[in-house]
Amino acid sequence: MTCGELSDSLCDFVGGELPPERHLCCQQHLDGCPPCVALLEGYRLTVRLGHELPVLPVPAHLVARLRVLLTAQSPPAPEPGAQPTA
């Protein structure tokens, strides 16, 4: 396995989605390639940082506007068996 092939497999490698033999090839390459180990560590850290991002607070002026709008919005009585659509 080359470094380029390792890079191309990173998404599936960190997601645990590679077939066992392919995963083993990646692991064997990593065992002898410090630059790819560094790439993998940075890749994993990037994924973790994304996962840890908090929900953004809603601006106060938007909350105030929504409160007025949603209060005025009276939900209609739903039809029996009605399903919402996107």
């Binding site: 994924v47 991002l53 929900v55």
Partner: protein, 187 residues
């Protein structure tokens, strides 16, 4: 035939504002990279939530539906916006958080750890905003919202291999943008 008792009751206004509004706003803000547009999309989506949530008879499908409505609204808004502008610089994402923290009685000087966390988030948000849209969408949905690839593929009308390919590219771009700050981010 469903009875009124079987349906999920409409959520109290405060639940909509506190529980759903931040989720929708965050998704729209990160996908659109623009505060004013995110506000318009949030308003549109929450009005749909208030109208349609009473028709749900179980809660399991609601998060999926909410994501779909929010993503569709953001994509539609972007299509309209594309006609009138090419690019906007990212705005101060964290200003609102600063406003919230600046409540009476709050600690005037946040500990160093909070300053570092704030700086880390600012760097990440800027890196996300700098991603090309096709990569940003997948990154936001996969790594921040943590939706399954199949659901992202459905939302964006892509195949799963395309989602994976874009996600990989997005992560590499994020890594390149953040690599100079990795040391401070892992303190």
């Amino acid at each position: 035939m469903a009875t009124t008792e079987e349906r999920t009751p409409a959520p109290p206004l405060e639940e909509v504002l506190q529980e759903y509004a931040p989720r929708v706003y965050s998704l729209a803000r990160r996908m659109l990279g623009n505060e004013a547009d995110a506000e318009d999309v949030t308003q549109e989506v929450l009005l749909q939530v208030v109208r349609k949530l009473p028709t749900f008879r179980g809660e399991a499908a609601f998060p999926t539906w909410l994501h779909r409505v929010a993503v569709n609204a953001a994509l539609a808004f972007r299509r309209k916006r594309a006609a009138r502008e090419q690019h906007r610089a990212p705005e101060g994402l964290l200003d609102r958080q600063e406003e919230r923290r600046a409540s009476p009685g709050a600690s005037p000087a946040p500990p160093e750890r909070l300053v570092l966390a704030h700086e880390r988030q600012r760097l990440i948000e800027e890196a996300i905003a700098s991603l090309p849209e096709i990569y940003r969408d997948v990154y936001v949905l996969a790594d921040i919202e943590q939706l399954p690839n199949a659901e992202i593929a459905s939302l964006l009308e892509l195949g799963v291999p395309a989602v994976k390919s874009r996600l990989h590219r997005a992560r590499l771009m994020m890594r390149d943008a953040l690599a100079p700050h990795f040391e401070e981010m892992t303190r």
